[in-house]
């Protein structure tokens, strides 16, 4: 008996097509030589890639997005690690309430979150994109790092650390040398979630681009005005980067950590 029937297999094939075809079209169209977007491309050229690198605004926005994503990722990993230790390894009054509280930003629609931070920071007369977007991306990334790292920590028995303590290590050393290495899959998954959450965020971020803009905001603005294949070229580079990261993660820790 086959495990999966024809209906489930056909729908799965259809979904795979729906997921892959648009991305293939973008990659194909980015290589076009004409001024219009076409698939299959008419003529092959890399001129739209050149156009991306000639435009200072894409490069500046990319640098700022990268800076934000690195800052939000590293800070949210530290915060997430501290919180998950508190939530998993300690018993205290209101522990479930705190866990829900740390998760609460994910329940708020992106547009409301962006709007709310815009109101808060304009009231406080802080109109710096670095501070505003830094706060936003941290608020969005912390729930993921807390959740993923808690799930990783819960699987590790505390007795491993206790054994190290009995043999003379202090608590911090035991955690750093015994627990942390065993959390590697969780740490990799948390890093991916945090980085992508920050780097790709558009809907909430567009409210806070006072003095600097991010790459998604620039791409959206360009795509709404121009209709040449430049956005296809940027998209292709982002798709390639995503595929590379996912394949690396699979090789390194396996994707089961990501799919949960």
């Amino acid at each position: 008996m086959r495990a999966v029937g024809w209906f489930a297999r056909s729908v799965t094939a259809l979904v795979v097509i729906c997921m892959l075809v648009p991305l293939i079209v973008v990659v194909g169209a980015s290589l076009g030589g004409g001024n219009e977007i076409a698939f299959p491309p008419n003529g092959l050229s890399l001129r739209w890639y050149a156009n991306v690198f000639e435009r200072q605004r894409f490069l500046t926005a990319f640098q700022f997005s990268l800076l934000l994503a690195c800052a939000a990722t590293s800070l949210s990993l530290v915060i997430g690690l501290l919180c998950s230790v508190a939530l998993v390894r300690y018993r205290f009054v209101g522990r479930d309430a705190v866990a829900n509280l740390l998760n609460s930003p994910l329940m708020v629609p992106q547009v409301v979150l962006g709007m709310a931070l815009l109101i808060l920071f304009s009231q406080a007369a802080i109109v710096s994109s670095l501070i505003g977007l830094g706060a936003l991306h941290l608020i969005l990334a912390v729930p993921y790092t807390v959740r993923v790292l808690s799930a990783a920590l819960v699987r590790l028995p505390v007795s491993l650390e206790e054994a190290a303590v009995i043999h003379g290590a202090n608590r911090l050393a035991a955690f750093a040398m015994i627990t942390m290495p065993n959390m590697k899959p969780g740490l990799v998954a948390a890093t991916m979630f945090a980085f992508v959450t920050s780097f790709d965020n558009f809907t909430a971020s567009q409210f806070l681009v006072w003095d600097r803009t991010t790459l998604p905001v620039e791409i959206y603005a360009y795509a709404m005005i121009e209709s040449d294949p430049t956005v296809c070229a940027i998209s292709t580079m982002l798709i390639i980067a995503t595929v590379a990261i996912v394949v690396l993660a699979e090789r390194w820790v396996g994707l089961e950590t990501v799919t949960g």
Partner: protein, 282 residues
């Protein structure tokens, strides 16, 4: 298995949580400030004027109705596409499962802007759906997809698929495979085994997927923005427009609070339903 180490004092967890709680405090401060802003009238006095304005005008209510309507019919279609995918993924041989997981995870981590933009190329009048049909003479003029509800709906069905598939998959893969074997040995065919054993056990995942996708669709900004091209704005686009173009932050705050309350209400109802479900099956 999980217990505190014997030497701990009570202040330690609070200190560990402090940076996380500070981050959340900024978030709550922002929501409270927005709530306060929404209660100011045009002259700056306290009133419910913004809410009255939003609720009394049919033009504004239309955005809410339209968002609910489109989320209401896109979510079941996403379920219909996502469930068989999750099922196939959970029951396939390791190589097939790995391939499907790779496709899904790449999809999940690819930026919304890129995935939505890609759909413009597929759905446009010159896109890969319309052009071959026009060329073959199947249709006389392009099917109106881009800048119409159909295009936005297609995006809202396809883009949130990972949010439907992940929770269903994580429930399905943990269902004891011997249950299906037992059902088969008792004479149930595959269809009956699925509907009477597997599907009921997977309901918590289905419920989680439905909530995530419904809320994604209800509050979507990028898909109506890019594929609707201004002709098919939903509630999130309207909030953004009021805040950033009309510069009426008090009104935008009021609509934001309405959207937030609607979201929390839906989450609460689903939470109650989910508890009943667990109570019934356990």
């Amino acid at each position: 298995m999980q217990r505190a180490l014997p030497t701990e004092r009570n202040a330690t967890p609070l200190l560990l949580l402090l940076p996380g709680l500070l981050t959340i405090a900024v978030f709550f401060a922002a929501v409270v400030t927005t709530g306060a802003t929404s209660l100011l009238d045009a002259q700056g006095g306290w009133s419910l004027q913004q809410y009255a304005r939003f609720l009394s005008d049919g033009f504004y209510r239309d955005f809410v109705w339209r968002s609910f309507r489109i989320a209401g019919y896109c979510t079941p279609i996403t379920l219909l596409l996502g469930y068989p995918f999750a099922y196939t993924m959970s029951r396939s041989s390791p190589p097939v499962r790995l391939t499907l997981t790779l496709v899904l995870v790449v999809q999940f981590f690819t930026s919304y802007i890129v995935r939505t933009y890609a759909l413009i190329l597929v759905l446009g009048n010159n896109g890969i759906i319309n052009r071959p049909l026009l060329f073959l003479g199947v249709i006389g003029r392009p099917i109106p997809l881009l800048f119409h509800e159909a295009g936005v709906a297609i995006a809202l069905i396809l883009v949130p698929l990972p949010f439907m598939i992940f929770p269903i998959y994580s429930v399905l893969k943990n269902i004891e495979p011997n249950l299906a074997v037992a059902a088969a040995s008792l004479g149930a065919n595959r269809t009956r085994t699925f509907w009477e054993v597997t599907f009921p056990l997977s309901l918590p995942g289905v419920l989680a997927g439905i909530v995530l996708v419904f809320l994604f669709d209800l509050t979507a900004y990028i898909m109506p923005g890019m594929l609707g091209g201004g002709y098919f704005n939903m509630i999130a686009n309207f909030i953004q427009e009021q805040a950033m173009a009309v510069l009426d932050k008090r009104f935008a705050s009021a609509i934001s609070i309405v959207l937030l309350l609607v979201t929390l209400l839906i989450l609460y109802v689903i939470h109650v339903l989910g508890s009943r479900l667990r109570g019934a099956s356990g």
